[in-house]
C-alpha cells in the first residue's frame, strides 16, 4: 500500500529522498480523506520553508486542507502541470509529486516515518 522507498509524515505527506533533495506529495490516505481534488495552490520556486510550515493548499469539492513541508529547505521545483489535472492526486497519489525541496537541515529526515510506521498511523 505505502511504498517502502518513500518516507512519510504524520500529516500524511510522502517524501522521496533524492540525494540532498526531497520530492513531496500526499499519501493515498490523505487523498481518500479529501475526496475529489479540484484545486492546488503551490509555492514559487525559491521559497524556503521550515519543517512543519504550510507550503500550499489543496482543495477537494468538499474540503480545504493545508500542505505541510516535511523538511526544511528551499523549493527548487514545482509541479505546475498539476494545476491542469489536480485529479491525478486521487488517481496516483504516490506518483504525483507537488514540490522538490533542497534540504538544508538533513536531520529533519530522521523525523520521517518509514512505510511500516506510516501504515500503522494511517489505519
Amino acid at each position: 500500500m505505502y511504498p517502502s522507498d518513500l518516507k512519510y509524515t504524520k500529516d500524511h505527506e510522502w517524501v522521496r529522498v533524492e540525494g540532498d533533495k526531497a520530492r513531496v506529495g500526499i499519501t493515498d490516505y490523505a487523498q481518500k480523506q479529501l475526496g475529489d481534488v479540484v484545486y492546488l495552490e503551490l509555492p514559487e520556486v525559491g521559497r524556503t520553508f521550515t519543517a512543519g510550515d504550510v507550503f500550499g493548499t489543496i482543495e477537494s469539492v468538499k474540503a480545504v486542507s493545508e500542505l505541510y513541508s516535511p523538511v526544511t529547505g528551499e523549493v527548487v521545483e514545482v509541479n505546475s502541470a498539476l494545476a491542469q489535472r489536480p485529479e491525478s492526486v486521487n488517481a496516483d497519489p504516490h506518483d504525483t509529486w507537488m514540490i522538490v525541496i533542497k534540504v538544508t537541515n538533513p536531520a529533519d529526515m530522521n523525523d520521517l516515518l518509514d512505510s511500516a510506521a506510516y501504515s500503522d498511523l494511517a489505519k
Partner: protein
C-alpha cells in the same frame, strides 16, 4: 458516513465527482429519508397552510406540489418546504431534517384558532428515495404500472414501485428530471435495491450528500441553514416567486410586501470566481474595499467545472456582471455576479 442530525449518512459512495456526473448524464439514486413530513388536515386545512406558508396553496390541485416557505412574522424562514396537496383538505409539508421538531412546534402553535385543523408529524412513516437524472424516468418505468410520462413536473400520484405501495413525485433537488418516491420504511431497502438493479446496465449509481450539495448548487437551489435561515427574508433570498402576492395575508406577508415594493438592502446572488480560487460558505464579500456580504454556498462544481457560489450582496451590487471581491483565507479574489441557475438541463 457522517452524522447529519440524528442520521448517519454517506457523504459519498464512489466519489462526489463520479456521482455528480452520473446524475447529469445518466441517473443517481439518493436516500433522502432524513427529510421530514408534516401533514395538515381538517376542514380548514387550506386556511391553515395559507396562513403559515408564503406560496398560494389554493392554486394547488390535488396531487400537485410546490416550493414554499414557512415564514416568521419578520418574513424570514422558519424553513423552506415542499407543499403537497394530498386531498382537498389534506396537505403534506416536506421539511428539512434538522428542522422537523422546530417546524412541527411552530406549525402547531400557529394554527391554533384557525378552526378544524390538525398537524401531525408523520416523518417516521416515510422513507424517501430520489432517482434523478436523464434516464430516471425510463428506469423507474420498468418497476411500476403507473405511466410516469403522465406525471408532470411538480405533480405526484400514488401507485406502486417494485410491488410496494408508494407515492411517486416528479420533484428533486438536482436540476435534473427525476422522481422522489415516498416508501413505507419497512420496504425502503427493497425499493432501493430494485431501482439500483433496474438501473445497473444504464449506469445508475448510489449518490450521497456531497453530490446532492454540488448538484443543487449548480441548479442554484437554496440550502436552508446556508443560503437562508431565520435571519434572511424570502425577498432577500430572491425567492419572490414562492410568495403568493395575490393571496390573503399570511405570517410575515406585511414585511414581504413592503420589501417587494421598496426593495431590500441586500440580495442573494449567484457568482463565479474569476481568479483561480474556490470561495466557500462563510467567506466575506468585499465591495470597494469594504466588507459588504458573505458567501452562503460555494465550491468548485463537477459539471460546470467552475468555482461558483451564492452570496448576500448589497442590492445595488446585485446586477449580473457586477464585480465582487471575496476573501478566500486572507487572499482577495475577483468574482462576478452571474445569472442563475449555473446549470440548466437541456430540454
Amino acid at each position: 458516513m457522517i452524522a447529519f442530525g440524528s442520521w448517519d449518512m454517506p457523504v459519498e459512495y464512489s466519489g462526489i465527482v463520479d456521482e455528480h456526473m452520473a446524475v447529469r448524464t445518466r441517473a443517481g439514486l439518493f436516500d433522502v429519508s432524513h427529510m421530514g413530513q408534516i401533514e395538515i388536515a381538517g376542514r380548514d386545512a387550506l386556511a391553515a397552510v395559507q396562513h403559515i406558508t408564503s406560496n398560494d396553496a389554493s392554486r394547488l390541485a390535488i396531487n400537485q406540489a410546490h416550493y414554499s416557505a414557512l415564514t416568521t412574522p419578520e418574513g424570514t424562514f422558519v424553513d423552506d418546504v415542499l407543499t403537497y396537496r394530498l386531498a382537498d383538505a389534506h396537505f403534506m409539508l416536506v421539511v428539512n431534517a434538522s428542522n422537523i421538531i422546530k417546524d412541527f412546534t411552530w406549525i402547531t402553535e400557529h394554527i391554533v384558532g384557525i378552526g378544524d385543523v390538525v398537524a401531525v408529524n408523520t416523518s417516521s412513516r416515510y422513507a424517501l428515495i430520489a432517482l434523478q437524472g436523464p434516464v430516471a424516468r425510463e428506469i423507474l418505468q420498468t418497476l411500476t404500472g403507473v405511466n410516469l410520462t403522465d406525471i408532470k413536473y411538480y405533480w405526484f400520484t400514488s401507485g406502486e414501485v417494485a410491488n410496494v405501495r408508494v407515492t411517486i413525485s416528479r420533484t428533486g433537488y438536482t436540476g435534473e428530471d427525476g422522481f422522489e418516491v415516498f416508501v413505507p420504511p419497512a420496504s425502503a431497502e427493497r425499493v432501493w435495491d430494485a431501482i439500483l438493479a433496474a438501473g445497473k446496465s444504464a449506469g445508475v449509481v448510489p449518490a450521497g450528500l456531497g453530490a446532492r450539495d454540488t448538484l443543487r448548487l449548480e441548479a442554484a437551489m437554496r440550502l436552508y441553514g446556508n443560503d437562508m435561515d431565520e435571519t434572511t427574508t424570502v425577498v432577500e433570498a430572491d425567492l419572490g416567486w414562492i410568495v403568493g402576492w395575490k393571496k390573503d395575508d399570511f405570517i410575515g406577508s406585511d414585511v414581504l410586501r413592503k420589501q417587494k415594493a421598496e426593495g431590500t438592502a441586500r440580495k442573494l446572488v449567484g457568482f463565479e470566481v474569476l481568479d483561480r480560487a474556490i470561495a466557500r460558505h462563510g467567506h466575506d464579500v468585499y465591495v470597494d474595499g469594504q466588507k459588504a456580504g458573505v458567501v452562503t454556498s460555494g465550491t468548485q462544481t463537477p459539471f460546470v467545472k467552475k468555482a461558483i457560489g451564492m452570496a448576500y450582496v448589497p442590492a445595488d451590487r446585485a446586477a449580473v456582471g457586477t464585480e465582487l471581491e471575496i476573501d478566500v483565507r486572507g487572499r482577495r479574489v475577483k468574482a462576478q455576479v452571474v445569472t442563475t441557475p449555473f446549470y440548466k438541463r437541456p430540454k
